[in-house]
């Protein structure tokens, strides 16, 4: 019997990698395969879904395939390097350390270690599965012998659900008719929040003096987050920047639906799930073409070659003024979502890992 066991540094609820890992486990089991999840740590809510990775040697069986969810540094990587089972990487990308230099030493060290682990694991793997062609190229450049592009498994309909009406009403009451720009993502130096603040300043200066910027996401780099909000204060935008954190699925959907435009000026993305969430909510997208953003967005948004605030502000204004354009972007966004449907992605994972299992059987 085919057995594909997943290893993940941390299994967390309401987390993209955690949801992806659990959904994959269910997919593999539905295909008639054995599949368990091994972790370095698991959230209390998910303890029953996982086993500590140190226990795997006692449960190992001939023919096992090990699938590592790789997106951060972990002792799990060192553990897998010493295992003899066929290893498949599911690569979600590691943010380059250069983004954190000067901001946060421990994160710089952590992502540097993660990169070193990718360098060690890539040639050791029999296959690298990447969320995007951008990630696949990175794996191939590090010596991964074969790569396949399969998107991250994300079921927006069941996860997002409908917008929380109270949250929608609360948001609408705060800003009235003013233009609302939205970005969703952790507050971290690679995400370009300062450029969003600059864009808001220029947009208010040139187009809509009441415009607001809504930022959703945890302040995972506190010095950077403090600098971003102090910067907004300095520019007189304190009242125009609204930060949301720890939102429920319904509240998050409300923030997407409330916004006029989703603006992503991130400088490094391995996939960018918030683009799909914006498409799902029907929010037009203006995004900087960095990393995998272009291939995830396709032609379902305005893809900018620069993060210069004047250009971003002009793009936002163009979408805001042109209702035909906004409607088209919304429609093309919903169509683009079909390319990332959970059914297709599940099939692709089973197909790709099924081939690995066949090869393992032939070798055995």
């Amino acid at each position: 019997m085919t057995a594909v066991h997943q290893f993940v540094p941390a299994l967390l609820p309401r987390d993209a990698t955690g949801d992806h890992t659990l959904a994959l486990r269910d997919t593999f089991r539905a295909a008639g395969w054995e599949s368990d999840i091994y972790v370095e740590a698991a959230h209390d809510e998910l303890q029953h879904e996982a086993t500590y990775f140190e226990k795997y040697p006692g449960r190992a069986r001939p023919g096992d395939i090990l699938l590592y969810q790789l997106g951060t540094s972990s002792p799990v990587a060192e553990f897998l390097l010493d295992r003899s089972e066929p290893l498949v990487l599911d690569y979600h990308n590691v943010t380059p350390a250069s983004f954190y230099v000067g901001w946060e030493d421990h994160t710089t060290a952590k992502v540097t270690l993660a990169h070193e682990q990718v360098v060690s694991l890539a040639p050791r793997a029999v296959l690298g599965i990447a969320d995007s062609a951008f990630n696949a190229r990175e794996l191939a450049a590090l010596g991964c012998p074969a790569t396949e592009v399969v998107p991250i498994l994300v079921d927006l309909e069941s996860e997002g659900g409908s917008a929380d009406p109270r949250e929608l009403a609360r948001l609408a009451a705060r800003h009235g008719e003013a233009t609302v720009l939205l970005f969703v993502g952790r507050i971290s130096p690679n995400k370009g929040h300062e450029r969003l603040i600059e864009t808001l300043w220029v947009y208010r200066h040139l187009y809509d003096p009441d415009a607001r910027l809504h930022l959703v996401g945890p302040a995972v780099t506190p010095d950077y987050a403090a600098a971003v909000f102090d910067f907004a204060d300095e520019l007189g935008l304190a009242g125009a920047v609204h930060h949301g954190e720890g939102l429920s699925a319904g509240q998050l959907t409300a923030w997407y639906e409330d916004a006029d435009i989703f603006v992503c000026l991130s400088r490094h993305e391995g996939f960018c799930i918030p683009l799909l969430e914006a498409m799902q909510a029907g929010t037009p997208i203006v995004a900087f073409d960095a990393g995998a953003v272009g291939e995830t967005l396709g032609d379902a948004g305005i893809l900018l070659p620069t993060t210069r605030p004047a250009t971003v502000a002009a793009a936002v204004d163009r979408v805001r003024r042109d209702s035909d354009l906004a409607r088209n972007l919304e429609r093309w966004g919903r169509r683009r979502l079909d390319d990332f449907s959970p059914e297709l992605t599940r099939q692709r994972f089973v197909e790709v890992l099924g081939r690995v299992a066949d090869q393992v059987r032939v070798v055995a």
Partner: protein
Amino acid sequence: MTPDAPGPAEGAEAESNADVAGRIRYLDEVMAEIDAEVRRRRASGDLPAGLEAELDELFLEFSPVGLQGRARLRETLSLVDGSAYVDIAVPTESNKMVGSYIKGSIRKGLGWYMNFIVAQIVKFAWSVSRMFHVVVDHIEVLEASMETHRSPDLPADVVPAADPGSAWWAKSAVEALTGVTDRVLVGDCGDGSLVAALVAVGVDAYGVDPSDLVLEPALDRGLDVRAEGILDHLGVVAAEALGAMVLTGSLQWLRPNEREHLVDLVSSRLVVGGVLVLHSTTPEGWASSASTVVRDLAPGRPLHAETWAHLLAARGFAVSAPEWGGADRRLARVGNGSADADSVNAAIDTINDLLLGPTEYLVVATRER
């Protein structure tokens, strides 16, 4: 144009290639309109030059590595000063009375030892701090000294108005830049005549000139021109953002350090394969044609074409042979009727070569790396 692409809800099974191509064309048009809007805002003064760079610099002030130059030195120095003192008065508070007593006893018992060690640490730290103060003081003296050696800027009112579009080299410049698809910058664009000539052949050209007065005709014609010096402007242009550049005018009297800086900026702002068109007066032409005031007050002097070729080749440019032009003041050779014709012509050739050659040249260079 707004393509009427059917969405999934409308029951379309699959898009045709024509649908996709139409959508891509439509988004390209939207992007072009966005670019045009930015250019219009810049030209109208709504977006002052350097505004975006100022915003970036302002943000840097909030970053841990943000302070620049002297302020950063002094700020860092104050941190060193603040850290140079080691306090040996260990806190002895405790939730339990016995805890405070024990902590106090340890402090008292080890006080003589800690004093001995800390005195040496503090002495070392203050020596280091003192050394940094000496270094910073020395740097500030050097900066002040350099400031006294700075030559004044050339007064704008003594510089003749530029009209590059009707100059002898304009045709060659337009030919060299026709077909360039990325943005093309014309430095010291004057009345915008060369910018207009480039736009007329489909080039996405814009110009800068330090004098806003000379730009008025260009603004009246709706051209994208900005009142900025070439160095200031290139300082805020993104790396590899330009497909080509035209340099003329003030290029000739830049200070040596400014010239070096300009060459660095040119080589970083042009894309690989980008074209530089450089027009200058020859040193001989400068001596004979520039006004006395300009010659006396200009901080720098024009270079020979060969020198520009050398500087650009060192930065990875392939440089074409110069095209000579401008006023030709060369003496005519005498006929062969005279017995002394050969020696007279040899003397005329020497004078022509040394003093009376072409007064201007045009160099076209392509960035290769």
